[in-house]
């Protein structure tokens, strides 16, 4: 982080003032919702309920006004049921496959390894799925299946080093303790060995300084920074080094992207696809909210931007529907895999209706497109974001 406390404080102060000015809704107003509209999920605060059984929760984007997302505001994505019973005393993590010395560790043994911390923006591959046209099946996420947290725990490569990876080991498979309903294939995925031995890939046991909650994979999860959330398997119990990419539903046909642009709405041959790995460049406007009616005067447009394994280079704002673009100020907090907060101080010249847009570009030369690349499963949505507002 190349920031000072002063600049951070100033930015946060500016941002919180901006949030108030833009009408961001603090969670306390959740009480104002009709009683039948809220469902209690312990440990979660005012989240958008995509599914209760199994639990899928989305953050309202107005919550994204801090660099680190508090755990009760952090999205939850489950493909199946969370482990119904999980006693940390009985939990074991086994390491096997293409290794010299397979073993199984208790949590206490795992925690003897030196911990490392990575601030990572974790985003579900399907974030924004509901915005693709034509619509595609799956959890209909808006823009809030994303969050940023400080994940801590041993490096995966330190664990692998204890086992000694054979030269035949090219991929690393994770199995979690998700409870599989019906004949649904188990949630097992793999990552290439190069990413597995990266110094920032962790077996995370902590999130924002506290032990992982159950929704986030207690007692341990993979943390594959800069990649889609599905790579970071929760409730991890088995690590297996394998020769080839794992063969199973959640590697193919799920979580794959067409190699070539496909005609909107068409099916894609699975052989003409590749696994979805690193996240796209993306920005989201977190205030003012779409449909906001603002008083005349200055407007602080604000939001977040991230770019997976790349760095955010700039965020540009248009207040005239995309004709002219001006740079937003990036917040001081930064880490390689973490989003940047941004603000744009705007003084509308006259009253009226405005379309405000945000567009991020990254260090790999990627820029958010005006229309996201359609694909049959609705992954990696990253179109230029926009809100329509009225200024009095």
């Amino acid at each position: 982080m190349d920031c000072t406390m002063n600049s951070r404080r100033l930015f946060l102060k500016y941002l919180s003032a901006a949030a108030v000015a833009a009408g961001a809704r603090p969670p306390v107003l959740m009480w104002a919702l009709p009683q039948e509209q809220v469902v209690e999920v312990p440990g979660e605060d005012g989240m958008i309920l995509r599914s209760y059984r199994f639990v899928d929760l989305e953050s309202p984007v107005e919550y994204f006004n801090t660099w680190l997302t508090p755990v009760p505001h952090f999205f939850v994505r489950n493909h199946m049921h969370e482990p119904s019973e999980l006693d940390p005393a009985d939990w074991r993590l086994s390491i096997g496959g293409e290794v010299e010395k397979p073993f199984a560790w208790s949590l206490a043994e795992l925690l003897k390894l030196e911990p490392h911390s990575v601030v990572n923006t974790l985003e579900c591959a399907g974030n924004g799925r509901s915005l693709h046209r034509p619509q595609v099946p799956g959890v209909q996420w808006g823009q809030g299946a994303v969050g940023t947290a400080r994940f801590s725990g041993p490096r995966l490569r330190d664990v692998l080093q204890h086992a000694g990876v054979k030269s035949t080991g090219k991929h690393v498979m994770f199995r979690g303790l998700d409870e599989v309903p019906g004949k649904v294939p188990p949630f097992i995925r793999s990552i290439p060995i190069e990413k597995a031995i990266d110094a920032d890939t962790l077996i995370a046991t902590h999130m924002n300084g506290s032990p992982l909650t159950k929704h986030h994979g207690f007692p341990a999860r993979a943390l594959v920074p800069g990649w889609i959330g599905a790579a970071s398997c929760k409730w991890i119990t088995e690590i297996k080094v394998i020769e080839k990419e794992f063969v199973g539903n959640f590697m193919s046909p799920a979580y794959r992207f067409p190699n070539q642009a496909v005609k909107t709405g068409d099916a894609v041959n699975p052989e003409d696809t590749h696994p979805v790995t690193a996240l796209n460049v993306k920005s989201v406007i977190t205030g003012p909210s779409n449909g906001a009616r603002l008083k005349s005067g200055r407007v602080a447009v604000h939001g977040v931007a991230w770019a997976g394994e790349a760095d955010v280079a700039k965020v540009e704002i248009s207040t005239d529907g995309g004709a002219l673009w001006n740079s937003a100020a990036l917040g001081p907090d930064q880490a390689h895999y973490a989003w940047r907060l941004w603000t744009y101080d705007w003084k509308p010249r006259k009253s009226g209706d405005y379309t405000v847009m945000s567009r991020a570009s990254d260090s790999q030369g990627r820029t958010q497109p005006s229309t996201a690349v359609w694909n049959p499963s609705g992954y990696l949505y990253n179109a230029v974001d926009q809100v329509n507002i009225h200024v009095a």
């Binding site: 919180s16 603090p26 969670p27 306390v28 959740m30 009480w31 919702l33 009709p34 009683q35 039948e36 509209q37 809220v38 469902v39 209690e40 999920v41 312990p42 440990g43 979660e44 605060d45 005012g46 989240m47 958008i48 309920l49 995509r50 599914s51 209760y52 059984r53 199994f54 929760l57 989305e58 309202p60 919550y63 006004n65 801090t66 680190l68 997302t69 508090p70 009760p72 505001h73 509901s130 034509p134 619509q135 595609v136 099946p137 959890v139 209909q140 309903p181 019906g182 004949k183 649904v184 294939p185 924002n208």
Partner: protein, 134 residues
């Protein structure tokens, strides 16, 4: 708020002042609804229902064995896409009599087609003491 209400009530008992009585009653009137709500959080239905129709019962049995109805309520898909989903779910263990497959696809594609209004999701309750920033 409860503490201040108590203070007013005690004030009334001690001094039997009519003013204190009025203030105490007013305080109770205004304070109690919020206090009661804070004690017992608002609660909606934990799981949602599928819409009425000839296949409601069979769809509920077939689909909600593994996941709840909200997963279905939020989809807006063409008949072709629903056909693929139903066949995938049958492969994954959904119990659908082969004589019911087409009716189930019709039920889903009629109720959850792309032209239907957007699904309005519920919210989870506010967590007491949740930090809003860090």
């Amino acid at each position: 708020m409860w503490r201040s209400t108590k203070k007013f009530v005690l004030g009334y008992l001690r001094h039997r002042s009519e003013t204190a009585l009025v203030v105490a009653l007013l305080a109770l009137l205004f304070v109690s609804p919020f206090w009661a709500r804070a004690q017992k959080p608002a609660q909606g239905k934990v799981t949602a229902d599928l819409p009425a129709g000839p296949m409601q019962g069979k769809a509920t049995t077939a689909c909600t064995e593994c996941h709840e109805a909200r997963i279905i309520l939020q989809q807006r898909l063409s008949k072709g896409a629903w056909t693929k989903e139903v066949d995938k779910m049958i492969k994954w263990g959904a119990v659908v009599d082969s004589a019911d497959r087409d009716a189930l696809i019709d039920y889903l594609s009629t109720n959850f087609s792309p032209d239907k209004p957007a699904y309005e999701p519920q919210r989870t309750a506010a967590e007491k003491g949740a930090k809003t920033s860090k």
